[in-house]
Each structure stands twice: as C-alpha cells, then as structure tokens.
Amino acid sequence: MSVRGVFKLGVIPVFLLLSSIALGLGWIGPCMTLVPGFGVLDGWVRLFVPDEFTTPKTYSIFTGIVALWDENHRGLAALLAGFSIAFPAIKLAVMGYGHAAVVAGKQTGTAWWLAHHAGKFSMLDVLVVAVLVIAVKGMPGNSEVVVGWGLWSFAISVGLSMLAAIAIAWVEHRVDHPMLSGERVTPLPQTPPA
C-alpha cells in the first residue's frame, strides 16, 4: 500500500477518532479529587466541621470550569474553557479538515497550521493539575490531590491529536515526492563508484 493509502486508511484517522472520543470523555470524567487532610486533628475536624469542608471533592474539567465560574474566577474559567474545551474541539475539526484536504491532494491551509502549532497549549489543563498536585502535597495536614481517569483521557486525546498533526504535516511535506505518492517511477541511475 502506498504512503497515501496508509495515510488515508491507517493510523491518522484512528488517531483522530480515538482523540475525539478521549476528549469527550476527558471533559466529563473525574479529573482530580481534592482530599482534605487535617493532620493530628483530622478526627476532630471531621466530627465538628460541616461536611462541605471535609469530604473529598471530585472535579471533571467541565465541572471544574463551572466551579471556577461560580466562584467568580471568571477570567481563569474562560481561559481554561478556551484551552480545554473550545480549542481542542476546534483543533480536531481543523485537523479533520486538514486530513481530508491532504487526502484530496490539497494544502492544509492556514487554519490547520495555526491549530498544529498552537496545539501545545492544549496541555494547559494537565499542567494546572500537575501544579496543584505538587502545591497541595506541600501543604500541612496530609491533604492531597488524586488524579482521576478524566485527566489521563484528556492527556491522551491531546497526545493523539499532536501525533496526528505531526503525521499529517510529515505526509503533506513529502506527498509531492513520487516515491511517497505511490506513483511508479523509474529509479535514478546509480552513480558509478569512484
């Protein structure tokens, strides 16, 4: 099978499909659970402090953004929504377009180029949770952040979309070559040894 055939029927559409499914699940799956700890006073605090302060709280990316919005951290909520919900979805759509365009023998266009190069920022959510995990570990009282499968799903989605973008770019740059296009060509004559 030619490179174009592999490109069309092979890994890139699978990457994009899996990335889409993982992104949807990553939005709503449990992303992190904040487990409050109160050190030596743990038992007493849990007895006398209202549940809302002592029970572990689990957030998905979506509910986390909603919580930030409700707590009036609207700039941060908008930033995370932009880079975690809007941008990855638009990026996948643009990559789908880019994939179809390359299959059709066209250029991917500016939108695809922007999506590909700005894709690194899609890991913003993963970075935020990573910082939280480290920050909370440093707090007294044994509080901790437990990472949920939603975050991994989101990270896998971003990773797969980046792989797909790299593959599309790679093929786009090389598809003009007759050897890669699948067209039968005459081999270049061998240079006689000196």
Binding site: G24, V40, T55, M95, Y97, G105, G182, E183
Partner: protein, 238 residues
C-alpha cells in the same frame, strides 16, 4: 514536480472527489464524536456513580439506609434515649424540686441482662431532656489539642449510646430518673424487647394510666456498622 492531485494512484480520483466535495465533513464528524462521547460518558457516569464520579455509599453492602427497618437478629446496635419528656408534676401532684421550684433534673439508666450498662449525663431543670448521640467533654478536647493527643481519641468513645447485641428475646430496660440532692427518684421503668423495634428513632407516647410521670420517650437505635458519614448525618437530624 507534479502536484499531489495529479498523481495516478488507485483510488486517488475517488479521494480527490470525496475530499474536495465536503472538506469539512470529516472535521464536523469528529466534533460530533467529541460531543457524543461527552454526553454518553456523562450518562454512563450518572447511571453508575454519583455526579462527582465516585461510587455512591448506598452501593456498599454494609451501608444502612436511613429508612427504619426491623432489627436483624445477630447484629450489634447502638441504643440511646434521645428524648424524655416528663409531666408537669409528680404522680401525687407534688412539684419535682419543691425546695427551689425548678424543673426536674433528668437522666436515664439502661440495663441489659439485669445489669446497668449505661448511664446518661443529667439534664438539669428540663421537662424535655435531650441527649445527643455524639458528645465530647470540652475539657478533654482542649487538653487533647494542647497536648497533641486529640487525634488518638476514637469515635467510639464519643458515642453516647450503648452497643447491644440483639438476639431473639433480647430485652433491655430503660429507667428514667430524677436526680435529687438527697435521693434520686425513679420516674419510669420501660422494658423494651429489641427484636420488635425498628432502626431509627421511635417515639413512645404514654397515657397518665400507663406512665403517670413520663409523657413521651424517643428511642434511637442505629446499626453499629453504620458508616461514619451516615452516623454523623443521623446525629445532625436532631
């Protein structure tokens, strides 16, 4: 160099036709898959777990529902008098504390197998005496916090109730007493067959003929295996 569209590969014509006809269709399809995954995943989480993605407590086998249910033979239960309401005067119409004309000082004693197993604190000057299921001596708390030993105090020691092993025929006796400086006075004696009782709080109301000095009594029975969060929820239902 030839442009990619001009390459002659099997299926390339079809690729070109389908790809150029609806270049955004593939992108739109991916968006729909993203949305479908999110909606499907949310519905799945809602059906299998709580809204935060955690498994609900009611799915654990030992979880006890808050609805009353008949006590199960062979299990341990916390038994506690939650409330005792005394009548305005004694049976002979004398005041409770005649020397200072105050309301009665009430406490209760629980007997099991003919021995005293629990005695409550005294509620002073109260016709409607109440006892909380959980309680702690403030001095112990302060001392524990200062010395750092507070974390060593277990929940069991804070429960103001007696654990009773319920078998068919297990009977306890609740005695309501009025604390007196000179001599405590017995207000009422109530034998209670536990196998006939239900979990939760049961209210007993008495006529003058049944109990001349006790108007009502609330008895709380809780499975000793109740998870702490539900126990605290019950405590909150005062």
């Amino acid at each position: 160099m030839a442009s990619p569209a001009k390459h002659v590969t099997p299926g390339a014509a079809a690729d070109s036709t389908s790809g150029s006809a609806l270049p955004w269709l593939w992108g739109l399809t991916l968006l729909l898959i993203v949305g479908g995954s999110a909606i499907g995943g949310y519905a799945w989480l809602e059906n299998t777990a709580g809204p935060d993605g955690t498994v609900s407590a009611s799915s654990t086998p030992d979880a006890v529902p808050l609805e009353p249910q008949t006590l199960r033979i062979g299990r341990d239960y916390y038994v506690q008098v939650k409330l005792a309401e005394l009548r305005e005067t004694r049976a002979d119409d004398d005041p409770w504390d005649w020397w200072d004309e105050s309301a009665p000082d009430v406490y209760y004693v629980m007997k099991w197998q003919d021995v005293r197993v629990f005695e409550s604190v005294v509620r002073k000057d109260d016709f409607v005496a109440r006892w909380d299921l959980l309680g702690a001596d403030v001095r112990d708390v302060v001392t524990g916090v200062v010395t750092g030993s507070a974390a060593e105090m277990d929940i069991e020691s804070l429960i103001n109730a007696q654990a009773i092993h319920v078998e068919d025929g297990t009977t306890i006796t609740i005695e309501i007493w009025e604390s007196d400086r000179l001599d405590d006075q017995l207000v009422a004696t109530l034998p209670i067959k536990l196998a006939d009782q239900r979990e939760g709080t049961t209210r007993f109301r008495f006529t003058d003929e049944e109990q001349p000095e006790l108007a009502r009594l609330d008895l709380t029975i809780i499975d000793c295996a109740t998870p702490l969060p539900e126990l605290l929820e019950m405590v909150g239902q005062r």
